[in-house]
Symmetry: C2
Subunit: 205 residues, 2 copies
């Protein structure tokens, strides 16, 4: 008997404003057994915050050791506290047969690929054009002009890496793009690479 409950990783990248969060909500509705990546931090929990829910609260020592060991896909120091995305909880989720989902930038994708290539399915999401991205960022009106300009600059750099991703979604129609992302999430765990090469023998049982 063949077991097809495999752990795997789904990586989503794409410029800020391309609609990632909206699309991810559709995935959560459709997929069981997923783990959405939670950041780690060295700052103290605020009132009501829970370890493993809001953040993984870890010591500065552990954080620095894990940076050294290459576990962090991205990290930053802000006002003396460290924040970042560690591969540790992701590996744990995968070992439990879950689909680990995370939204990370292109550098983080490169690092994850180096470490866990066979487990990963990745998607680059974008608007149909740069000007459409500008429109969406301006419409949101939540960010300052400087932040928007910075996001646009990053977007121009990020899209140069689309070819490193397995799939490419042009989010010009929410229904179509949701269906595509949900489909990708659906099959991330049935990649042949995830199955034991000795499967043909056990299949004979």
């Amino acid at each position: 008997m063949v077991n097809d409950k495999k752990g795997a990783i789904l990586i989503i990248s794409g410029p800020s404003g391309c609609g990632k969060s909206t699309l991810l909500k559709e995935v959560y509705k459709d997929i069981d057994d997923y783990y959405f990546s939670i950041s780690s931090t060295t700052r103290a929990p605020r009132v009501g915050e829970k370890d493993g829910v809001d953040y993984f609260f870890i010591s500065k020592e552990e954080f620095l050791k894990d940076i050294e060991a290459g576990y962090f896909l991205e990290w930053a120091e802000v006002h003396g506290n460290y924040y970042g995305t560690s591969l540790k909880p992701i590996e744990k989720a995968v070992s439990e047969g879950k689909l680990a989902i995370f939204d990370i930038d292109v550098q983080g994708h490169d690092i994850a690929r180096e470490k866990l290539n066979d487990l990963i399915t990745s998607v680059f999401i974008t608007t149909p054009t740069l000007s459409e991205l500008e429109n969406r960022l301006n419409k949101r009106a939540t960010d300052s002009k400087e932040i928007i300009e910075n996001r646009i600059k990053n977007a121009k750099d990020e899209i140069k890496h689309f070819h490193k991703y397995d799939y490419f979604i042009v989010n010009d129609d929410l229904e179509k793009a949701s269906k595509q992302l949900v489909s990708i999430a659906n099959i991330t765990r049935i990649k042949s690479k995830l199955f034991d090469p000795k499967l043909p023998e056990s299949w004979l049982d």
Copy 2:
């Protein structure tokens, strides 16, 4: 503006009796713009048969030339007539932006991979166990004992190649397996490899 209507190929393999035809019906309901591979033959059309619908009716000369050129993924001579699956109409469908779907054996998959690797997404479908396959073949009661035995022998050989396929579906639950196959069909045409590497430049327009 980025165009995401790409032509691509979806290859399905798996032992006779694993439920391929039933699963494919779900794909046809869900996908637009598909082309299901039609066999080519050198025999004369029977009354009511149409070229490009029932078969591609081609001359023996053309058939032999295309075997020579490596266009045939599989072929056989039966009572002096040739039958086979040619890559020619598949390439045409892809150039028209369609999803070409075909059901072929593991040798055919190998040949298609050699010729058109980047365009292909492939799926190996099987029952959870060999004994379940035997049950299904016996239940159908449409085939002689010899044919069933031959199918089981082939199945044991075929499953050894599951690792060459992109995806692996265990058809133990029709609803789950249909959803998986439809999902694969849905995203075959948004593989990053299918997009022009110069896309980041045109995205700036």
